[in-house]
């Protein structure tokens, strides 16, 4: 009846409609706590899928997403914070021109997000330019440095970032509509890219750089493309995050953020976009569960005070154990495709009906 591609697009569209109905219902009936977790989950989905494009698909080890999220976050914060509020917030040193004299009206929120993403992509090109030409692990060390340097800059460029105090009172534009839509479109776009000729080229680079180059692939251009695209979505995720929690400070996007994303993509399977999507949502909930571990407990005569950071101990232990014993993660490099889904859903039918 239809070609496979058309049918899959149709499925995707149905999924989108279902998601939107789900959002509508959630907005109405779900409690604020759960909505917040879902919002966080969607932001994780965006950032993790983008991160996997570099680490899992292209096989380049970046440690930079927290830096790119910070760029997106600060950009959106500066653009969306109303001018009156800016004067209040920047009481140590006034905000520099032109940000002190304008702010985007709510209708332009989407452009603020896009700009945040583009600036993050610009940052990625700046880092990628010297490092992605080289073989070896220079990207890892440069992006790690970059993430830390962004924090240094956020602390010191007080007329721009308000230093350690951060920016408070950012309008809370982000809601489930925004996060779910962005998450959906990010997964859709990145998955399309991965399934295209470009995606194959990126995977070829992951598998064997020498052979990929010998087959005519310009390594530098392709790596840079993947890296910049990944940073774009990370920037958007950062922008969504600050307009969700309405505040940003240098401590918001530390290395812990990158680390969370690393766990998500390893758990979901390095190289599996759908895997990252699923584990990102799981992770958001797992994180809430582990908050329990950090709360004070009384066991017998021992009183354990709240241990902030215990979560991270558990997460890093999980990461190391995963890498040693279960490197492929939940999905390996497999993608959950509509073919799989229909096989599961119509398994009985297919047994009779043969090929679909």
């Amino acid at each position: 009846m239809f070609t496979r591609e058309t049918r899959e697009l149709l499925f995707t569209f149905v999924l989108f409609v279902l998601l939107m109905v789900g959002v509508w219902l959630a907005q109405r009936y779900l409690n604020a706590y759960l909505v917040r977790i879902f919002n966080t989950a969607c932001i994780y989905v965006i950032a993790a899928v983008a991160y996997n494009l570099v680490n899992g698909i292209t096989g380049q080890f970046s440690l930079g997403p927290n830096g790119f999220m910070a760029i997106g976050g600060y950009t959106v914060a500066l653009l969306m914070l109303p001018v009156v509020q800016k004067q209040e917030v920047y009481f140590l040193q006034p905000l520099i021109w032109p940000f002190n004299s304008f702010s985007f009206p709510p209708a332009l929120f989407i452009f603020a997000l896009l700009l945040g993403g583009l600036l993050a992509a610009g940052g990625a090109i700046l880092i990628g330019f010297p490092t992605l030409r080289l073989r070896g692990d220079y990207l890892a060390i440069a992006t790690f440095g970059f993430g830390e340097i962004i924090i240094v800059l956020a602390n010191n460029l007080i007329p721009l970032t308000n230093g350690a105090l951060g920016i408070k009172g950012i309008p809370e534009y982000t809601n489930l509509w925004w996060t779910v839509n962005w998450a959906f479109w990010t997964v859709f776009l990145v998955k399309n890219l991965v399934n295209s000729s470009f995606g194959r080229a990126l995977k070829a680079i992951r598998e064997d750089e020498v052979a990929a180059e010998a087959m005519g692939i310009n390594l530098f251009r392709h790596k840079l493309l993947a890296f910049a695209l990944s940073a774009f979505f990370a920037g958007v995720a950062g922008g969504l995050f600050v307009t969700l929690i309405s505040t940003i400070s240098p401590t918001l996007f530390t290395f812990s953020m990158t680390f969370n994303l690393l766990i998500i993509i390893v758990l979901g399977g390095l190289g599996s976009i759908t895997g990252s999507t699923i584990t990102a949502v799981l992770f958001a909930f797992l994180q809430e569960l582990l908050r329990e571990v950090e709360a004070p407990h009384v066991i017998g005569s021992w009183t354990f005070p709240g241990i902030p950071g215990m979560r991270m101990v558990v997460f890093s232990a999980i990461l190391v154990i995963l890498m040693i014993f279960y490197r492929r993660g939940l999905f390996g490099r497999q993608e959950l495709s509509w073919q799989h889904v229909s096989r599961i859903l119509w398994w009985g039918k297919r047994a009779h009906g043969g090929q679909s």
Partner: protein
């Protein structure tokens, strides 16, 4: 700037540089052999200070003995990390080993935060470090004088080990060609363990000396020195021991001098090192002493 302050800053730069050098050698040894950025190395550096701190504070051991035990424990930790976390992944894709390294590093840091807390602790310094010397009219603190001296002495011992002993020869051979060295009958696994032990011991010494210079210790104190030391190893030519030392001094001196000449940029101190890394990667990615690495086709 007067001559005396310049001289003081110069000494300061040399002393910070020598610490970076100590730390950079651990990175470069492991990278040279396994092609792995040992992210946990900076945490071994941190652990060294805490081991010594607790030996002094709890077991009330004399300073020197505490430090020696601390350094020994560091070597043990380094060997354990290699044995438990890195060896199972030796034939795995590179990225898996790197992720594990990041995981181990983060584990140690967060375990530190949970067990000893984020609040910095004061590190006890021996009298020797607190003395004040007058050299060429400049007032030089004991630390600024002794830290580079001890580091350089340690570096000399290391060079002897690497370039004059059988073990050192084995290490260099493994880093040139692991498989051939194995065929020559060298126990490669053991050589790798020794490299970790040696690098980690150096990190421990570096940590203690660092704590003498900046006597506030906390579980995250290793991150920046570690990253800068790795940068130093890159600048010097990754995999090259002499290069790591040169890189360490360059980074240390550059950092201190920039802050000395432009005091209002102090906050950006770490950003300079980053800029230096980027410039080096653009201009001379193989580093000062490094040969251009060509993958064998």
């Amino acid at each position: 700037m007067t001559w005396t302050t310049f001289f003081q800053q110069l000494m300061n730069g040399v002393s910070v540089g020598s610490l970076y050098a100590l730390l950079a050698i651990g990175y470069t040894l492991v990278y040279g052999i396994l092609g792995l950025i040992n992210f946990a190395h900076s945490d071994v550096f941190m652990l060294g200070t805490y081991f010594a701190f607790f030996m002094i504070g709890i077991f009330l051991l004399p300073w020197w003995i505490s430090v020696l035990i601390g350094v020994g424990l560091c070597a043990l930790v380094g060997v354990t990390i290699e044995r438990v976390a890195y060896r199972p992944l030796r034939n795995a894709p590179r990225i898996s080993a790197l992720i594990t390294a990041v995981g181990v590093s983060f584990f140690i840091e967060n375990l530190g935060l949970v067990t000893v807390g984020a609040r910095p602790k004061g590190f006890p310094r021996p009298e020797l470090m607190k003395n004040v010397y007058f050299i060429a009219g400049a007032r030089i603190q004991g630390v600024t004088f002794w830290v580079p001296l001890i580091s350089i002495a340690v570096l000399l011992v290391l060079f002897y080990l690497v370039y004059r002993t059988k073990l050192g020869m084995a290490m260099r051979a493994v880093s040139k060609d692991m498989e051939t060295t194995r065929l020559m009958g060298v126990n490669v696994d053991r050589v790798i363990l020794y490299a970790f032990a040696l690098g980690s011991a150096l990190a421990g010494i570096g940590g203690v000396l660092w704590a003498c210079k900046y006597p506030q210790i906390n579980p995250l104190m290793g991150i920046f020195p570690g990253w800068k030391a790795f940068t130093a190893a890159v600048v010097g030519g990754i995999g090259n021991v002499v290069g790591a030392m040169i890189g360490g001094f360059i980074i240390g001196l550059a950092e201190i001098m920039i802050v000395a000449f432009f005091p209002n940029l102090t906050g950006y101190r770490d950003a300079f090192v980053f800029a230096l890394l980027i410039i080096f990667l653009l201009v001379k990615p193989s580093g000062i002493m490094g040969e251009t690495l060509k993958e064998k086709v």
